[in-house]
Symmetry: C2
Subunit: 420 residues, 2 copies
């Protein structure tokens, strides 16, 4: 590389997105890039002229290692969607003007579906206007819903955390005896794709029976059949554990989480209260059977728990970042790096680049055949697919009993101060 590289992060954060950033930085430096800039809050921040020189933050080999172990988006992220080129050219002109000022040779964007849409539009614009900058996308999402890639960095670490936590929750649920039993409903992220929810099955093994029921958003949810199923299980077991995706819907498309809000609930202060899927189902089951229930949302932790990250995931995220820079350096543009699995056992996986036009805005769901006939558990094939992605650990760098991260740029911490 002869000039400079700029890299941005976009969409929901993960435990592995910063490992890709580390991979981009190191490979760009190794290939001779003079400067590696980081967009603050993705392309949205770039449009406001907000960026940093990554060399001010990554000064040592240890910093690279810390960055790999730092959760969430080091550079900040955005959910900004570029307008169509024919709708508003000025946005594009502004971005390219900033890039020219910074002498950008390669633009790397780490993100999910929306981010690949950004790569597609920017590379199209460059081609149409004859601009030499190259645009490469780096896949990232805990949701694992990107097309054309075997899986996405970020998913493996989230799946490992979910499998581990589910196993701990199941153990905990068997501790106390309740006269009418205990039903625990665990809610997992994923509006449309059930990859993360299915990962609860990883808890099943020689030392744990796993959860009793798993409901993915791909399969319509039937409240009556569910209730009957729980009733039967309560007759056999003292503790019933159910995993549900936040996005499960009824046959008519209504979200289960919205069923708890059919009567507008306004508290004494006039604020509307919303309940989640697990919270609704647990009150519903408690009402039906008078049993003890518990609703647990894995919440932010499932995407941020870098203390329990998967080694395979963190290393692949790093490789994918490097492969993006390599592709740009070798002249590719409008491409996304994908992971191509060669075999399950022994697990072998390499990187390739694919045309981003074939990826953007397409959602990869869990295939129907990877869910059992009743629609309440994932199959062995699903588990075999996920298992290689959660292998190995990345020991956190512990300082005084707590994992150390690479400190966030001040631009994120005191944004409003900086802006004034």
């Amino acid at each position: 590389m002869k000039k400079n590289v700029i890299v941005g992060q976009s969409g929901g954060p993960t435990a592995a997105i910063n490992s890709s950033l580390a991979g981009v930085y190191r490979t760009a430096k190794d290939r001779g890039a003079k400067k590696v800039y980081g967009m603050i809050y993705g392309v949205q921040g770039l449009l406001e002229g907000r960026y940093i020189d990554l060399a001010d933050h990554i000064k040592t080999e240890l910093d690279v290692e810390l960055l790999k172990r730092t959760p969430a988006a080091f550079l900040g992220s955005c959910r900004y969607k570029l307008p169509e080129i024919f709708e508003d050219k000025s946005v594009y002109e502004k971005i390219f003007q900033i890039m020219d000022e910074l002498e950008i040779e390669a633009f790397i964007y780490i993100g999910g579906n929306d981010s690949m849409d950004t790569i597609k539009k920017l590379s199209d614009y460059a081609i149409v206007t004859g601009h030499p900058t190259r645009f490469i996308g780096c896949p990232k999402t805990i949701d694992n819903d990107l097309a054309l890639t075997d899986h996405t960095p970020g998913f493996g670490s989230a799946a490992k955390y979910i499998g581990t936590s589910m196993k701990e929750i199941i153990r905990d649920s068997f501790c106390l005896e309740y006269s009418k039993g205990l039903v625990t409903i665990v809610e997992i992220m994923g509006r449309n794709a059930g990859w993360l929810t299915g990962a609860v099955a990883l808890s099943k093994g020689e030392d744990c029976e796993g959860p009793d029921l798993i409901y993915l958003p791909e399969i319509p949810f039937d409240l009556n059949i569910f209730t009957e199923k729980v009733k039967k299980l309560l007759e056999e077991k003292n503790s019933v554990v159910v995993a549900v995706s936040e996005g499960i819907r009824l046959e008519n498309g209504e979200y289960v989480c919205s069923m708890g809000n059919q009567i507008d609930f306004v508290d004494a202060f006039g604020h509307k209260q919303l309940s989640g899927t697990a919270s609704f189902l647990s009150s519903y089951i408690a009402g039906e059977f008078g049993c003890k229930t518990r609703a647990i949302e894995l919440s932010t932790l499932q995407r941020a728990a870098s203390h329990a990250a998967s080694r395979v995931d963190i290393l692949e995220a790093y490789q994918v970042g490097g492969a993006a820079v390599k592709a740009a350096d070798e002249g590719d543009t409008g491409k996304m790096v994908v992971l191509n699995r060669l075999s399950d056992d022994p697990y072998q996986c390499g990187t390739e680049v694919k045309d981003v036009h074939k990826i953007a805005n397409d959602e990869k769901l869990v295939p129907r055949k990877w869910v059992n006939k009743e629609g309440n558990y994932v199959t062995e094939e699903f588990v075999s697919y996920v298992k290689p992605l959660i292998q190995g650990d990345v020991s956190p760098v512990m300082v005084d009993g707590i994992p150390r991260h690479l400190y966030q740029p001040e631009e994120l911490r005191n944004r409003k101060k900086i802006k004034k």
Copy 2:
């Protein structure tokens, strides 16, 4: 020891309670106990004649190591309180009859306040009736609210998990920009004692600013002052993170979590919906400022996350189990093992035994001087007290990417089957 030992677990499970069980087992065996029985579901199960021979489950050195790393109560637990001796002697007669049949020389009970009440009553009864069995309590509770002991096994691992998770949540909260900012409310266990909630301050360090506000149940909560505080913080920062104990109350004693339910909320199915403290406060703040809010409950995970346990905690739990057996073997009864801290730095801590009559039913709260004047953060003294307890890790035994535990006795897993 010449005869047998019986051990039970009681109260809420922790990540360290099984390490105490391992300590009891090993020390009893080392000191010549013929059999070590485990009560299934504590003294409540014992009254129904439910117990196991631990040798059927702990067969190898590896099993001991797995047990140390297994969360929740291996034997099952109970929240049973013995009647006063003068109220109902028959319960005592039954327990002593079972113990005589099993030739029990020492009765070890691992638990919190209620469990120490059990030790007190049983040892009193033995003394009054001239029965030779000795009764020793082993402290255990994530709440750290037991009197006379410097701290309780289980607390250190929960504190480490809470500090680590809080740090990850804070990082995540700075990823996206929201026009009116983001307020994250994290709810932590502890009805009356704020030890666990204060542990969020462990997230603060060179690479993290820590949470903005910490509210313990010891200090009355003022909704207006809180709201003003958040308003000011939102003017300075893009992301405000608040930690609250589930048990925070208003000056008049009303639980904050119950404020969200001042209007009875019954959903379309006739079931009452309850909201937690974080859930109420986050809707309240959203209503006041129109900002984005997020409510996170650390829930069961904070007591069950053995994958992130503290080495100091797991080892101390093991020692405490051993010290209980030693005390009984040397003739003590009606005592609880306590941890006696000799120094903070270097951390030194030993075990002693103290009269259980001085411990039972007494609750140790966070001292007022360890909370700042405004009542919204813990002091450096608090942090110095907790820090030694979260040091070091206990590497999980990983099998196929997920931590391995010692499989639970079948008596717990298929309770109803066994009973029939």
